[in-house]
């Protein structure tokens, strides 16, 4: 091994305090020196020899080579200088580039706004120069907007819209100016453009307050466009304060789960709206009676009874049943026995067709792209056959193997108010309206609309009756088995004459629909009207 002495004099130069300054000077000197020597060597005028060795070259070859070099220089500039305006590229660098000096890490994601331009999420720069996402309203928008965290990753709208939050389109002269400044001065903190959501700040906050400690979900959506104004799921989590335990699965009640779109629940009586639509579509006009002994097809199956029977039994009285009644009355009274018979007579094929046509079997996303936390899964629909009428009867009262999410229930209610057309729900503001399916024809939808109005006027939803806002709705009380209370549903739309909003409230194990879910919906609608969130 030859001797390898250390270079102390160089070490001293480099450890000098002035070295960084000298180094940056040398960097420039290197580029200048390269420029100088390149052109000095090339255009050598000291002798005529260069001319001799440089005869005329075919202009085509020169042109071809220049074209290639020009193309390379142009393409490279698109990445190296203008990469900031390539959203996917910035997104890639922020996620996967580990060069800490890469200016892409200093590009801040844009703000997320509600549909009235109010800021919901913004990027803040700490004193150390680290950017961090900040949710102004903490847990309120946690599920729907998700989080953007260097440790825990990306979910919700933060993930789905990340590219547009980071990138920038060059549209005006001003943008080109800004680009020039960015290329020259890389220390600036650039911010991406804002993204608008369809959410309403006031409504979402109020819905969250009203749901309070109860587990459940609230969905409010525009009927004509499918824009979601509120999407609340409780229990929630604070996207500003993520911790490992949240993801370990040891936290009770799964606060990360968005119950409004990924929760699958038996819908109970709210599903009767769809059964009624199917029957109307088949031209049903008749009546059924609801005897106290209920409906069953064999002694092995416990009879399906109306809740009046149980209520009377509890008080030690006997209930005499309902005589023959119309669909409208049965919906208002939410008669299980009526709907069991109606479903069986309508037939498995018709019911399944309506369920499919209403878009319940379709999976879709609330934001363009395929962000898993914004995926609305298809409902669990049992394989009905006419050979098994008891299963059809259970399906007809929203029990059995049927499971849907609160958003899907709101979708059905919106379709009733929208002449039977099911519109795809979305979180984007001013999104293109996309039909998802068809619940029933416009005439049937109109009939159904007034039937649901009757539910509020004189049926199980009487508690919703408000002089200032005529609402059409349906209650639901879904048994979950075991000894826990039933899930409490309340879904409908308002106002009846010119429907604007469809809503759905679910309270897990809240008991009767009129007991837990209805007051939340009532207070929310009343406040929305008072505060001007809902304009008639």
């Amino acid at each position: 091994m030859p001797p390898n002495p250390s270079l102390d004099f160089l070490q001293q130069i480099f450890s000098d305090a002035a070295w960084p300054l000298v180094a940056s000077g040398l960097r420039w000197l290197f580029l200048l020196g390269l420029l100088w020597s390149l052109f000095r060597y090339q255009w050598d005028t000291s002798s005529n020899r260069s001319r001799v060795s440089l005869p005329r070259l075919s202009s085509f070859w020169t042109f071809l080579i220049l074209l290639c070099f020009g193309g390379i220089a142009f393409r490279q500039a698109q990445w190296q200088l203008m990469g900031r305006h390539h959203e996917a590229f910035v997104s890639f660098m922020q996620r996967y580039d580990r060069r800490e000096f890469n200016p892409a890490h200093r590009i801040r994601a844009g703000k997320i706004l509600d549909h009235n331009n109010r800021i919901l999420v913004e990027s803040r720069v700490s004193e150390k120069g680290v950017t961090k996402r900040f949710h102004r309203y903490g847990p309120t928008f946690g599920h729907v907007l998700g989080y953007n965290d260097p440790v825990y990753g990306l979910t919700g709208v933060e993930s789905a819209a990340q590219r547009s939050l980071l990138g920038q389109k060059l549209e005006s002269k001003q943008d080109w100016k800004a680009l020039g400044a960015e290329v020259l001065d890389r220390e600036r903190f650039a911010e991406g453009p804002a993204v608008y959501t369809s959410l309403d700040l006031g409504l979402q906050r109020r819905a969250s307050e009203l749901l309070g400690d109860q587990k459940g979900a609230v969905v409010v959506m525009e009927i004509k466009t499918g824009e979601i104004r509120a999407l609340v799921s409780h229990p929630d989590y604070d996207p500003n304060r993520l911790y490992n335990g949240l993801f370990s699965g040891k936290v009770p009640d799964a606060p990360l789960m968005n119950r409004a779109i990924t929760g699958h629940y038996p819908p109970g009586s709210v599903f009767k709206v769809l059964i009624a639509a199917s029957a109307l579509q088949n031209g049903f006009k008749g009546t059924y009676a609801a005897p106290p002994e209920g409906y069953t097809n064999s002694p092995a199956n416990p009879p399906i009874r109306d809740h009046e029977y149980y209520a009377a039994k509890e008080k030690g009285q006997t209930w005499r049943g309902y005589g023959p009644m119309s669909l409208s009355t049965a919906l208002a009274k939410s008669s299980n026995v009526f709907f069991a018979q109606l479903g069986v007579d309508t037939g498995a094929a018709s019911l399944l067709r309506t369920t499919q046509a209403a878009g319940l079997a379709r999976e879709f996303y609330l934001w363009p792209g395929s962000e898993p936390t914004l995926r609305v899964k298809a409902a669990d629909i049992p394989d009905l056959t006419d050979k098994n009428p008891y299963e059809i009867a259970q399906f007809s009262i929203g029990q059995g193997d049927l499971l849907v999410s609160p958003l899907q229930v709101a979708m059905i209610c919106a379709a009733v108010a929208n002449q039977g057309v099911v519109v795809k729900p979305t979180l984007e503001r001013n999104a293109v309206v996309q039909p998802l399916g068809r619940l029933c024809g416009p005439q049937q939808a109109d009939q159904l609309k007034w039937m649901m109005y009757k539910v509020v006027q004189e049926g199980t939803g009487r508690g919703m009756k408000m002089a200032e806002l005529p609402v059409a709705a349906k209650t639901g009380t879904a048994q979950t088995g075991g000894h826990q209370l039933s899930h409490s549903w309340f879904a409908g739309f308002a106002p009846v004459s010119e429907p604007r909003w469809a809503f759905c409230v679910l309270v897990e194990h809240g008991g009767y629909g009129s007991a837990a879910a209805l007051p939340i919906a009532r207070d929310l609608m009343r406040d929305a009207l008072q505060e001007g969130w809902l304009k008639l």
Binding site: S15, L38, R49, G71, Q76
Partner: protein
């Protein structure tokens, strides 16, 4: 006009004796670059030893001896050509010294690559200068057979790594084809020049064309078997350039389209994950952590470099997979910025211009075609490698001459440069000078 020409030639012969090759600017750049690289290394807490200076000192010594040899040998060709070659080699040494970060590498043989390359350059120059290259034309069939032998030997004996075949010691002898094939083609075409002259592609000389087609088919078949599509594309493009040059008919350019279509089909058919590679080119964001990873990391490096770069030595080549060979341009762009990249493009442009000038200088067809072929190989290498990094073309695995790592690549490029230097000083034939010059003017 004629008198003027006479005058320039007269002044030329005077100037030849007096102007040595200038490399002061190159030396200055080397010193600045070395300080920057070592400064970063010291800033990272590494103790500097004499061995850290080794690559720079070796370059300095070998450059000194090379210029001395050129001087003593009375090199009379273009002096700009060796000056640009030396500038390029200095940049290459600086960029590579950055990537051979560990101590073992620093003291290892890798730093002998460039100095040994200068030895090859000198030898190639010596054996080809003053028209000596024309006397070696007889070797052309053997150059072709040797190329085939190299490929067959590699397939039979070589070891496969990352889809390519390597010889013993990680060498890639197939790089030699970048010299042998232009040599063989130049010999072949100069022998059959009268048959090919002025023949467009729709009316080729059938007998000779068939020979060429068969020979080329054999070569391509072996290259496909070896999965070396980069070299296949490189040599095919060079063939097109030589065809245009020897026939003086642009119509042969349509072969380009055929070559591109064939290349695309071959990639899809024969390369592992060929479709994925093409997709990584068309849309690297479709699979950013998989097939698009290398390209995107390279582009991230470029973006991090920005306009003026992070400074020599301050980049992070370790973030880019195989940064040393395929993606050396991304490392360079990260450290010297867009400005530095433009300057490098200018350097390559000037250099290629000078090489083409050497080809145009030739009065005989064989050295003229050989110089054309070598220039085409260099040009395609530069363009295809850089275009791959900036996503104009898919990644082919072609190296960047004199900048990329890899002994075989640097040595073969050295031989190419040496041949060009040798051909830059054509044979002096005092009596026939006028006549042959006129004859050469008709040829491209």
């Amino acid at each position: 006009m004629a008198t003027q020409k006479k005058k320039t030639e007269a002044t030329e012969s005077v100037a030849e004796e007096r102007s040595p090759i200038r490399w002061g600017g190159t030396l200055l750049l080397m010193v600045i670059g070395m300080m920057l690289v070592l400064g970063v290394r010291a800033g990272a807490g590494q103790r500097l030893h004499l061995s850290d200076l080794l690559p720079f000192l070796l370059w300095l010594l070998s450059t000194f001896f090379l210029t001395l040899m050129l001087h003593w040998g009375k090199y009379r060709g273009s002096r700009v050509l060796p000056e640009l070659i030396l500038l390029l080699s200095a940049i290459g040494v600086l960029v590579r010294s950055r990537m051979e970060g560990s101590i073992e590498d620093l003291t290892g043989w890798r730093h002998l690559v460039q100095p040994l390359g200068f030895v090859w350059l000198w030898l190639a120059w010596w054996f080809s200068r003053k028209g000596r290259i024309s006397n070696m034309r007889w070797f052309w069939p053997f150059a072709f057979l040797l190329s085939l032998a190299i490929l067959i030997g590699l397939i039979g004996l070589g070891s496969q790594f990352r889809g390519a075949f390597y010889g013993p010691g990680g060498l890639t002898p197939s790089e030699l084809l970048k010299v042998f094939i232009p040599f063989a083609l130049a010999g072949y075409f100069s022998r059959n020049e009268s048959q090919w002259d002025a023949r467009p592609c729709w009316h080729p000389p059938w007998a000779s064309g068939l020979q060429l087609f068969m020979g080329w088919g054999l070569l391509c078949g072996l290259l496909v078997l070896q999965r070396d599509l980069g070299l296949l594309v490189l040599l095919s493009l060079m063939l097109v350039v030589m065809l245009i040059s020897v026939t003086r008919s642009w119509s042969w350019g349509v072969l380009l389209i055929g070559a591109m279509a064939g290349g695309g089909w071959l990639v899809l058919e024969y390369v592992d994950h060929g479709a994925r590679r093409l997709q990584a080119w068309l849309d690297p964001f479709a699979d950013p952590t998989g097939s698009g990873w290398q390209v995107l990391q390279g582009l991230s490096g470029l973006y991090a470099g920005g306009l003026t770069g992070t400074g020599l030595g301050a980049g992070r080549p370790d973030r880019i997979p195989i940064a040393g060979s395929d993606f050396v341009y991304a490392v360079y762009g990260e450290e010297l910025g867009y400005v530095g990249c433009l300057l490098l493009l200018f350097l390559f442009g000037f250099l290629l211009r000078r090489c083409a000038g050497v080809a145009n200088l030739q009065r005989e067809s064989f050295p003229g075609l050989l110089a054309t072929g070598i220039t085409a190989v260099l040009a395609v290498q530069v363009l295809v490698n850089i275009a791959g990094v900036v996503t104009l073309l898919p990644i082919t695995g072609i190296t960047l001459p004199y900048i990329s790592q890899g002994g075989s690549s640097i040595w073969v490029t050295s031989i190419q440069f040496g041949l060009l230097l040798g051909m830059a000083e054509p044979a002096v034939r005092k009596s026939k000078k006028r006549a042959s010059k006129r004859g050469a003017k008709t040829k491209k």
